[in-house]
Symmetry: C2
C-alpha cells in the first residue's frame, strides 16, 4: 500500500448524502472517467463503504486503469474529518460518528486512502484549477444539499482557530424566525437558499396543489427531484420554480454580500450542481442582490463568479489531495 | 516636526461624529489625562480641526506636558484613510471627503500626526492591551453610533484584499426588509443593534407616548441621550429601555454567531461605550443568543468577552500607532 511516483493515476471521490461520485485522473490530473452511485446512507456505514468501493472499481474498469497503477484515493466527506488518521469524526447527513474510513476503504481496495472535508476539497480544486487560480483572497460558496464555504486568504485555506470555520451556510439571514435549518436553528442561509431548501419548498407547494412542471419531470415521485429537474422546469418557464429560484438568488446574494462586507475578498466563487445547471441564469440575480447589500466602494472591486468546475470541484480537489507530493 | 525617542509622550484622539476624545499617554503608555469635546461636524472640517487642536492643547495643559515632549499624535477617524499621506478619503458621519488631515492638524499643533481608521485603532488597543493580548485569532465588535469590526487572524489585523473588510455592522441579519441603515440598505446589524439604532428606537417610542425614564434623564431633549443615560434607565428597571436593549443583544448575538460560524475565531471581543456601561448586563444575553445560532461544537471553544478597555480602546490604539518605532 505504499505510495509511489511510478503510479501515475489518482481517484477522487465526492461522498454526498445522496450520491457517490468517483473519477479517475491521469498524471496531468485530467479527468478520464466519472462514475456515480446513490449513497443510501440508511443502510449503514459498511454498505456505503461497499458502494464506494464498487463505484471506484467500476470507474477503474471503464478507464482500463489497474488498481496497482493508482497512487491514492482522495475522498471528500461532508463532515468533520481527522485527516491524520483518516477517521470521519461526525458526518450528520450520513449519520456517521467516528468511522475509521481510510482504514476500512483502504482494506477493500488495497489503495491508500486520504480523507478530507468535502468543502475543503472543492476549495482546493477551485484554487488550483478553477476561477480561484489567479486569486489570493476569495470565498467559495458551494450550493448543494447544504451550503458550504471555503475561505482562502493570502493564498491559504483558512479554517479558523479550531478548524471549524467556513460554515457560511449557517449565517443567520432571517433573525426573526425563518424556516428551520438542519442544524436546529432557524433562518440560516442554508435553510432558505440551498438546493435542499429549494426542493423542500417545491414539494410543499406541490402538496398545496400548486401547478408545476416538476410534478411530471419527477414522475410524481418527489424523491427524484434533482438539480437537473429544477433547472429543466426553470428553463421551461415554470412559474413556481422561477419564483423559488429567484428567492434563493436573493438570499445567496445577501450571504455573498455579508462575506464581502466582512472579508473584502477579491471574489466570491459559486459552485455546486445547481450553479452548474443554472449558473448563467442565477448569477446575474445573485450579483444584483449582493450589490444592494454590499457597503461602500467594496463592490467595485469584488467579483461574484462561477467556479468553472461545475459539480466536479469535489472530485477534482479530493483526487488532488490524494496525490503523493512531488519529490 | 521630526519624531524623536527623546520625546516620551504621545497623544491619542478618537474622532467620532458626536464627540472628540483626546488623551495623553506617558512613555509606558499609561493614560495621564483624558479630555472631551463635542465634534459639531456641521460647522465644517476647519472648525472640527480647531476643536481637535483645542482638545489636545487642553489635555496637554492639564497633564503639564509640553508640546515639545510629544513624539506624535494618533487620530482614529471613522472612515477610509490613506495612512501614508494622512488624508481622510471619506468619513460619512463627518461628511468629509479628501481632507489632508495630518497636514492640517500638524500645522496647528506643530506635532507629527498619524491618521488611522478608528476601528483599526481600537483593534490594535485590544490586541496589545485588552482582551486580545493572548489571542491569535479574534474578532472585535465595537458598538457605538455604528458597529465596527476588527478581524485579527494569526496575530495580524486582516482588512481584506482592498482594505475594505471588517464591515460587520453591515451584515444583513433581516433579509426581508428591516429598519433602514445609514448605508442605504435595510436590515443591517448596525440598523438594529448599534447605540444609534437603540437611541432612535427609544426616541420613536417616546414620540408615540411610551413611558420611559429616559424622558427625564435627558431633560426632554432627545439629542442628549448618550450611552450613560440608556444605561441608567436600564439599571433603574425602565421597561422600554430593557426591551430595546434585550432586542439589541439578540441581534448582536446573531452577528457574533455569524462571525463565529464563518471565521471560527478564539474569541469575539466586544467594546464601545454601551458595552462599557452595560457590558455585564448585556454579555450574558449576547452569549445566549449567539450560542443558539452557532453551529456544532464551535461554541465550546469560542469566548464572547468584554474588551476590557471600555470606550478608551480608540484613544489607546490611536496613540500606540503614533508612537515612533523603537530603534
Amino acid at each position: 500500500m505504499k505510495r509511489s511516483a511510478a503510479k501515475p493515476f489518482v481517484v477522487g471521490i465526492d461522498l454526498g448524502g445522496t450520491k457517490i461520485l468517483a473519477a479517475v485522473f491521469d498524471h496531468r490530473h485530467r479527468l478520464l472517467v466519472r462514475e456515480k452511485k446513490s449513497t443510501k446512507p440508511e443502510l449503514g456505514a459498511d454498505a456505503v463503504l461497499n458502494r464506494i468501493a464498487e463505484c471506484v472499481n467500476e470507474a477503474l474498469a471503464v478507464s482500463a486503469v489497474a488498481h496497482s497503477s493508482v497512487a491514492g484515493i482522495g475522498v471528500g466527506v461532508p463532515g468533520m474529518v481527522d485527516t491524520r488518521t483518516g477517521t470521519v469524526r461526525v458526518a450528520p447527513n450520513l449519520q456517521w460518528q467516528n468511522v475509521p474510513f481510510a482504514k476500512l476503504l483502504g482494506a477493500r481496495l488495497r489503495i491508500p486512502v486520504t480523507v478530507v472535508n468535502d468543502v475543503q476539497a472543492g476549495t482546493t480544486a477551485v484554487q488550483q484549477f478553477g476561477a480561484g487560480r489567479t486569486l489570493r483572497d476569495f470565498v467559495c460558496m458551494f450550493i448543494g444539499t447544504g451550503i458550504g464555504g471555503g475561505i482562502v486568504l493570502g493564498g491559504q485555506q483558512y479554517r479558523g482557530s479550531a478548524g471549524m470555520g467556513g460554515e457560511i451556510g449557517h449565517m443567520a439571514v432571517i433573525a426573526d424566525g425563518g424556516p428551520k435549518c438542519g442544524c436546529g436553528n432557524r433562518g440560516c442561509l442554508e435553510a432558505v437558499a440551498s438546493r435542499g431548501a429549494i426542493v423542500r419548498r417545491v414539494i410543499e407547494e406541490m402538496k398545496d396543489g400548486r401547478k408545476t412542471l416538476v410534478r411530471d419531470l419527477c414522475d410524481r415521485d418527489p424523491r427524484r427531484i434533482r438539480s437537473r429537474i429544477i433547472a429543466e422546469a426553470y428553463l421551461e418557464g415554470d412559474k413556481l420554480v422561477r419564483e423559488i429560484i429567484n428567492d434563493a438568488c436573493e438570499y445567496v446574494g445577501i450571504g455573498a454580500a455579508n462575506l464581502i462586507n466582512v472579508l473584502n475578498p477579491q471574489a466570491v466563487i459559486l459552485g455546486g450542481g445547481l450553479i452548474e445547471a443554472l449558473g448563467d441564469k442565477m448569477l446575474p440575480r445573485i450579483r444584483k442582490s449582493a450589490w444592494r447589500h454590499v457597503i461602500g466602494a467594496t463592490s467595485e472591486r469584488v467579483n461574484i463568479i462561477d467556479c468553472g468546475l461545475g459539480d466536479d470541484a469535489g472530485i477534482i480537489g479530493a483526487a488532488l489531495l490524494a496525490r503523493p507530493p512531488v519529490k
